[in-house]
């Protein structure tokens, strides 16, 4: 609808909207996070939800103790290889539409433990991540910014066409394979559907 016509109508007391706007407005303002923390980033996440930073302003104050009731997974902290299958399993148990914020250096890349043997080098090896936050740990402002980024991302999604959200694509995966404990490493060590090793392009 034309923007000027909409403004004119609203001045006359007639409010118009589209189903897409309404749908996205509902999705982005009721992101219920799954209440779990893995390391020190969880402390910042808790601080974000308390009165000083007040995550409730964004409609995300209800941390759910069950993945069945949650929309958003905040991977707050170091994901060890022993914990990774459980994180993927929790993600699989969440109903669509679902989103992931990888919070902190460890969750996005392994962080200071990147060269170790027992820390996963980024949760994006197994599940699709919507927003990455760097920082060790990121301040609550950074988490709020990630929330706003995610809300913006949801708001801009068209419900039809090639860029529609994953849960509206018939046949798109909602669950991702849970890695198994191997004799030397997790098997597989990454999900090639989700993650590709970074290609290095250097300008000549």
């Amino acid at each position: 609808m034309d923007e000027r016509l909409r403004n004119e109508l609203s001045r006359q007391g007639i409010f118009t909207t589209t189903l897409e706007d309404l749908y996205n407005w509902g999705r982005k303002n009721s992101l219920w996070p799954l209440g779990f923390g893995l390391a020190c980033c969880a402390i910042e996440m808790i601080a974000t939800s308390m009165a000083r930073w007040d995550l409730a302003r964004f409609g995300a104050e209800v941390f759910r103790p069950s993945p069945r009731q949650a929309d958003l997974m905040i991977v707050a902290g170091t994901v060890t290889k022993k914990m990774a299958p459980q994180v993927v399993r929790l993600y699989n148990q969440m109903p669509e539409p679902k989103y992931v914020i990888a919070m902190g250096a460890c969750a996005i890349s392994g962080g200071p433990f990147k060269q170790g043997y027992n820390v996963l080098k980024g949760i994006d090896r197994y599940i699709p991540v919507d927003v990455h936050i760097p920082g060790c740990p990121p301040r609550p402002e950074a988490l709020l910014h990630a929330f706003m980024t995610l809300q913006q991302k949801i708001d801009e999604q068209a419900l039809t066409g090639p860029n529609r959200p994953r849960h509206l694509v018939a046949g798109a995966p909602s669950e991702f394979p849970v890695p198994q404990f191997g004799e030397h490493d997790l098997e597989p060590s990454q999900n090639p559907q989700v993650w590709h090793p970074p290609a290095l392009v250097r300008p000549e």
Binding site: K81, K82, S109, G110, K114, Q115, G116, Y117, N118, K121, G122, F181, G182, E183, H184, D185, S189, Q190, P197, P198, L200, R202
Partner: protein, 201 residues
């Protein structure tokens, strides 16, 4: 102590650094008896094992330069010769003991396995100091020291299916390398393998 535990192999290992924390090496066959003596003796009363850890000493080659007198071309000369000795490696369990009652410590207790392959058994000191239970499990998990007499010897940090011992010097970590913007040292070597086009950078 030699009177209390007859036949025990005991050796003081001096520590030359400024902390001067000398340690007591105990033969593994008398480990439990010596530990009980340290805990129960009224003058020692080391009732608290604050820390237990493992150390991996890999096989090493020691080179010694020895001056030998030899007859070379009819003339007796003094010649330097290098002797190579293979020193077999072993695993070591280190306990730090304190006395809460008499307020002294630490006494550092060490035990060594016979080698790094098959004979990696040591007596568990968990029956003597309960606080060693999880830490002995950790030493078993990361170094592969098998503690005889431990009530519940399972892996504690890594998963049960895991086969390696990551804190041993010869452990090779799984190769899940990912690009790093500023690789250096070992990481740089691996970066060359994975991203050969950047080897000069």
């Amino acid at each position: 102590m030699e009177a209390a535990v007859p036949g025990a192999r005991l050796e003081i290992i001096p520590n030359g650094s400024p902390c001067a924390q000398h340690s007591l090496l105990v033969g593994d066959e008398h480990g439990s008896a010596v530990a009980r003596f340290l805990r129960d003796d009224p003058l020692l009363r080391l009732d608290y094992a604050s820390n237990m850890t493992g150390v991996d000493w890999p096989d090493t080659v020691i080179k010694e330069i020895v001056k030998v007198k030899k007859v070379v071309e009819g003339v007796e000369k003094e010649i330097q010769e290098t002797i190579q000795k293979n020193k077999p490696g072993y695993l070591e369990a280190v306990y730090h003991l304190y006395s809460m009652e008499l307020k002294h410590g630490p006494v550092i207790l060490r035990m060594r396995t016979k080698d790094r392959g098959e004979a990696v058994r040591l007596p568990s000191l968990t029956p003597v100091w309960r606080s060693a239970e999880f830490q002995e499990r950790e030493a078993y998990d990361l170094f592969g020291i098998v503690f005889d007499g431990h009530p519940d010897l399972r892996r504690i940090l890594m998963w049960d299916e895991f086969k390696d011992f990551p804190m041993r010097k010869d452990y090779v970590a799984p190769d899940d390398f990912e690009y790093e913007p500023t690789p250096h040292d070992q990481v740089h070597e691996r970066a060359k393998e994975h991203y050969p086009q950047t080897s000069g950078a």
